[in-house]
């Protein structure tokens, strides 16, 4: 068999394998073309700036506003303004625990946009995965044409139900089915939302190594109007490795039942001077 015959045989074998796996050759080629048309978000990324106080990508490049800035104060309904004030009082008393401190639950959406360590944005035609190294947080965004489940098939989860589509090089998706106050926080500044929260997110490359995420939070229970926020991420050097994050490996900061975060010595003894 010469080289040409060899290549032909290889193609026939691949087509047969594709057929046996249930993939029509035309569908494989079509999927490859769709994948090739997607933007390059490969590699590892780190949050460059932004938080739940920036309303535009430009603000996200500025230094964070001071703690008393109106930009840090969501447009809360009276009910959630009271919850927020109570959270501030707990923060002042060092009794506002972070739910992720137990090392067992995700930060959830959309808080996972504001974590330290690395991110990955895995783009495929039928879905995009938003992965945070500081996790576990895996947000699956379906772009295969599906819609959100019917209400009776939807329950609250940390990362929600996310469906969307591509508008040229911008991923646009809508999120529902999110856990709210009592299970998650958006920031240690006391910002929380209800489980009625819905978000509309847009992600695009603003420059080859700068990814911009803008989203609008809408919560009929917590907010009086939509609340836009923005984040930016920069690509880490090529070849950067993303590691696991086994938070329970050596958690020396357990939380007491009254919300106090403790510090342990290497033997597990509490070293705080408790009242």
């Amino acid at each position: 068999m010469n080289a040409s015959e060899n290549r032909g045989a290889t193609v026939r074998v691949l087509l047969l394998a594709g057929t046996l796996m249930g993939c029509a050759p035309g569908a494989v080629a079509q999927s490859s073309e769709r994948a090739a048309a997607l933007p390059d978000w490969s590699g590892a990324w780190t949050r460059a700036s932004g938080g739940f106080w920036e309303t535009t990508p430009e603000q996200a490049l500025e230094p964070p506003p001071p703690p008393d800035s109106p930009r840090r104060h969501p447009p809360y309904s009276p009910k959630f303004e009271a919850i927020y004030r109570d959270n501030l009082a707990h923060i002042a008393a060092d009794r506002f625990p972070d739910p992720i401190s137990i090392c067992g639950t995700p930060a959830g959406w959309p808080r996972m946009l504001a974590l330290p360590d690395a991110y990955e944005f895995v783009v495929r035609p039928e879905q995009t995965w938003l992965l945070s190294e500081n996790g576990p947080n895996t947000v699956r965004v379906y772009t295969d044409g599906r819609e959100h489940p019917a209400p009776e098939d939807l329950w609250a989860t940390y990362t929600g139900n996310n469906v969307g589509h591509w508008e040229n090089d911008t991923l646009v998706f809508h999120s529902v089915g999110l856990k709210g106050v009592g299970s998650t926080i958006l920031a240690r500044s006391g910002v929380v939302m209800s489980d009625k929260l819905e978000t509309t997110t847009r992600i695009r490359l603003a420059a080859p190594d700068r990814l911009v995420v803008t989203l609008v939070l809408e919560d009929p229970e917590a907010l009086t109007r939509p609340w836009p926020v923005a984040f930016t991420y920069t690509r880490l050097p090529a070849g950067s490795t993303v590691y696991d994050y086994a938070c329970a490996e050596n958690n020396r900061n357990p939380v007491t039942s009254d919300g106090r975060t403790l510090t342990l010595d290497p033997s597990g003894r509490v070293i705080d001077k408790l009242p």
Partner: protein, 129 residues
């Protein structure tokens, strides 16, 4: 620097919140606006998630010693800032600048670590002009 608690320096210089923003937990136990500087010998370097920890034995003027716990970022973040699991070995003399515990406990949130070979690591070293 004199290896003693007498070398403890409290600084009220403005400290960026970014230095303490990486923890997986509330940092309410630390003084955000103060720093202590301590020199001692590494007892153990825990290269673990969610945080690496440096255990340091600091001698006091009367000859006794106190073990300090310094909390760091995750190994993932540290590795991208030039740290390795072998960066600190038991017995190494280091000088640590940290945000101390509010209650005076012998622990703190690491800001910089000066190694015996002159290298400086930590978020404070990255923030330096």
């Amino acid at each position: 620097m004199n290896r003693s608690l007498a070398s403890l320096v409290l600084s009220l210089a403005g400290i960026s919140a970014s230095a303490i923003s990486f923890a997986h937990h509330s940092t309410s136990m630390f003084e955000p606006e103060k720093r202590v500087t301590l020199t001692g010998n590494v007892k153990e370097f825990q290269w673990t998630n969610p945080h690496a920890w440096i255990q340091v034995t600091v001698k006091t003027p009367d000859g006794a010693s106190t073990d300090w716990s310094f909390e760091c970022g995750s190994p993932n973040t540290l590795s991208r800032q030039g740290w390795k699991p072998s960066t600190l070995k038991p017995g190494d003399e280091i000088t640590v600048v940290a945000n101390p515990m509010k209650d005076g406990t012998s622990a703190g949130l690491m800001y910089t670590v000066a190694l015996a070979d002159g290298r400086m690591l930590g978020p404070g070293a990255l923030a330096a002009p």
